[in-house]
């Protein structure tokens, strides 16, 4: 019997944006090809042309409602470069604090609201209940901890930028507002609960990995390059640093000033996705597959740079060295270690009086025609590159977004997981959920990734190898 067919998973749920997965099965019902499609496009690179560069921090943050702060900061940094200024130390601190608020809320959102249903309720649990509502029902105390942790991150953003989503804060040359003492004290009082929630999450993922070690070893575990921004000590540099690309064996392949990114990163277009495929130029396409985001960063750095996160990182490295280094499931663990790191960094910054300084902005006329702003967004390295005319009007933009860097790796992961679980034509909902789970590990932001014209639906169809449409798997 011919079992060739095409499976479509659409939309990929519990991720940000519009994505879809298609899996082609051969006549034996085994996977012969799979694809992760991003189905949204918006056109920022074009419609921002002709506008004053100063508008960009406010406009480009609308690329994403989960990480607007990252876009605002990358944009503001590109604008600083056009002005040719070094912003005042307090302004830099305040931007970094805003950024930590962003990481805390985004990582908490991903773990508790989006990913935890798979881990706490199970891959194969009832899909109608496999969501945050189900988690609230089964684990009300834990769910509340997660909700409050995300809230804490959002409140840092609100204290600085006036609102939680699409705040108005970073501007070319600095920031809009100083932080007042009352808000500083209020924020400092929130760390106890935030640490407690983060450790609760860390315990969950460590237990889960301990109990599912074999699955983790087989789950989209592959060699790749890892990338992230690092400081001069090889610690994470989420706001500003050199970009490091490190091979699977731990050797550094490149470490460069972000403004030189075009020497190392190029992008391929595939006709079947609105998301381009960046690759490490010296290794070509598709060999130059690299991973960014929590797993990419933790596999690219030498140390965390904060005491509590360092303890967790030591444990992580042991687990990683036991054959899990390339396991896509390790993203969850890496993400929570970063969450801990961000809490520590935010607390250190808030305890230093510099944070309440009033020298927060430099004004200047543009002195450069080009500016590159690179930052580590929660999901990975984010690049804003602008070129302006002599009046400061945008002539050209290039945006490479975290999720884009991971596009090759996400496709690879889908393929590996589909091959692992779908055999002989047996297709169950729970198996398809694992395929989606591979994408979820990356915490993709498909709105971000398709700023070009941005939206990413995820769906799975099954086709025969000859391309004939066979079947669509539908969930309730």
């Amino acid at each position: 019997m011919d079992r060739s067919s095409k499976i479509t998973i659409n939309p990929i749920s519990r991720i940000e944006g519009h994505g879809k997965i298609t899996i082609h099965l051969d006549e034996n019902g085994d996977v012969c090809e799979s694809r992760f499609h991003v189905t949204q496009f918006r056109g920022y690179e074009r419609f921002c042309q002709g506008r004053p560069f100063e508008e960009m921090p406010v406009i480009t943050q609308r690329i994403c409602g989960i990480c607007p702060v990252s876009h605002q900061l990358a944009s503001a940094k590109a604008c600083d470069a056009i002005l040719g200024v070094d912003i005042p130390p307090t302004a830099k601190r305040l931007r970094e604090l805003l950024h930590m608020g962003q990481f805390i809320q985004s990582h908490a959102l991903h773990f508790f609201h989006l990913a935890s249903p798979d881990l706490l309720l199970g891959w194969d649990s009832d899909p109608a209940k496999r969501n945050v509502v189900g988690v609230i029902g089964e684990f009300p105390d834990l769910a509340l901890k997660g909700i409050r942790l995300r809230k804490f991150g959002q409140e840092i953003i609100k204290a600085l930028g006036g609102k939680k989503i699409h705040p108005v804060f970073a501007v070319p040359g600095g920031v809009m507002n100083a932080l007042n003492d009352d808000d500083r004290d209020t924020l400092l009082s929130g760390f106890g609960q935030a640490y407690e929630a983060t450790y609760a999450a860390l315990n969950i993922i460590k237990d889960w990995l301990g109990n599912n070690l074999e699955e983790a070893k087989r789950f989209a575990n592959f060699r790749s390059i890892y990338a992230g921004l690092v400081d001069k000590n090889g610690c994470p540099a989420l706001y500003d640093g050199k970009m490091r690309m490190r091979g699977h064996d731990g050797n550094t392949l490149a470490e460069f000033d972000p403004a030189r990114y075009l020497e190392f990163i190029a992008e391929q277009v595939e006709p079947w996705s609105y998301l381009k495929f960046p690759f490490f130029k010296p290794h070509g396409y598709p060999g130059g597959c690299y991973r960014v985001g929590p797993l990419g960063r933790l596999n690219a750095i030498d140390a965390m740079g904060t005491p509590e996160a360092q303890k967790e990182f030591d444990e992580y490295k042991k687990l990683s060295a036991s054959g899990l280094k390339g396991s896509t499931l390790l993203f969850h663990y890496a993400r929570l270690i970063e969450l801990l790191y961000c809490l520590e960094k935010a607390e250190i910054m808030l305890e230093d009086d510099l944070i309440c300084g009033h020298d927060i902005r430099i004004t200047a006329d543009p002195s450069n025609r080009e500016g590159v702003g690179i930052i580590e967004a929660p999901r990975g390295t984010l690049i804003h590159h602008y070129r302006v005319d002599k009046y400061g009007i945008l002539e050209k933009l290039n945006l490479i977004v975290a999720t884009g860097h991971n596009n090759l790796a996400m496709n690879r992961s889908v393929n590996l997981v589909a091959n692992e679980y779908i055999r002989g034509g047996e297709v169950r909902e729970g198996l398809l959920n694992r395929v989606e789970g591979a994408i979820r590990c990356f915490d993709p932001c498909l709105s971000c990734s398709t700023h070009a014209l941005g939206q990413m639906p995820l769906r799975i169809e099954i086709f025969s190898c000859s391309g004939e449409f066979i079947n669509e798997i539908r969930r309730p």
Partner: protein
């Protein structure tokens, strides 16, 4: 009494309105206990197979063929449709591309950007075609309620849902109406 059913979708948007919904924080637990959440980006329902629902909520404008199909289908399946956030209400920031030819916008992103090696414009049966312009939801289907804002305050959506649960047509108080 059976819980009222709710469906939420995002179309051409940034997810910020849904994030604002999650910003209800502790109050979210109460709201979610009083409704049955069906199709939504945070649940695992597939293929936008909306059951009959009492309230449908749309974030985002209508920018491609799939958006349009989803909205038309949701309209058929829901009693009360809310356009939620500036993109759904007005078309939003994405309408900045409406002044430009579609091909020009695509060519800029996929052919002209620095660093792109094989300039081709994606086109495939598995990705939806763009519409010529991004439209607000009410340019495609009838809308019963509007909550503007980029994003709307979390309290605004909570207020509307509570009014609907109480059997009243929501009228947003002035302090919940803003456009940024």
């Amino acid at each position: 009494m059976k819980k009222p059913k709710l469906a939420t979708v995002w179309c051409e948007a940034c997810a910020g309105c849904h994030m604002s919904f999650l910003d209800l924080d502790e109050a979210l637990v109460d709201i979610l206990s009083r409704v049955e959440l069906t199709v939504s980006p945070i649940t695992d329902f597939k293929d936008y197979a909306f059951p009959q629902v009492d309230v449908g909520i749309v974030e985002g404008g209508v920018g491609n063929k799939e958006n349009r199909e989803v909205i038309e289908h949701l309209r058929q399946q829901c009693r009360f449709l809310i356009a939620w956030g500036d993109c759904a209400v007005f078309g939003g920031i994405n309408t900045l591309r409406n002044w430009l030819p579609k091909d020009d916008v695509l060519r800029c992103a996929y052919v002209k950007t620095a660093g792109t090696v094989n300039g081709i414009i994606p086109a495939h049966e598995d990705i939806p075609q763009l519409l010529d312009k991004v439209l607000p939801v009410n340019a495609v289907v009838a809308v019963d309620g509007y909550i503007p804002g980029c994003p709307p305050a979390p309290e605004a959506l909570a207020y509307c849902l509570k009014e609907l649960l109480a059997g009243r047509l929501p009228v947003l108080p002035a302090d919940m109406i803003h456009f940024d």
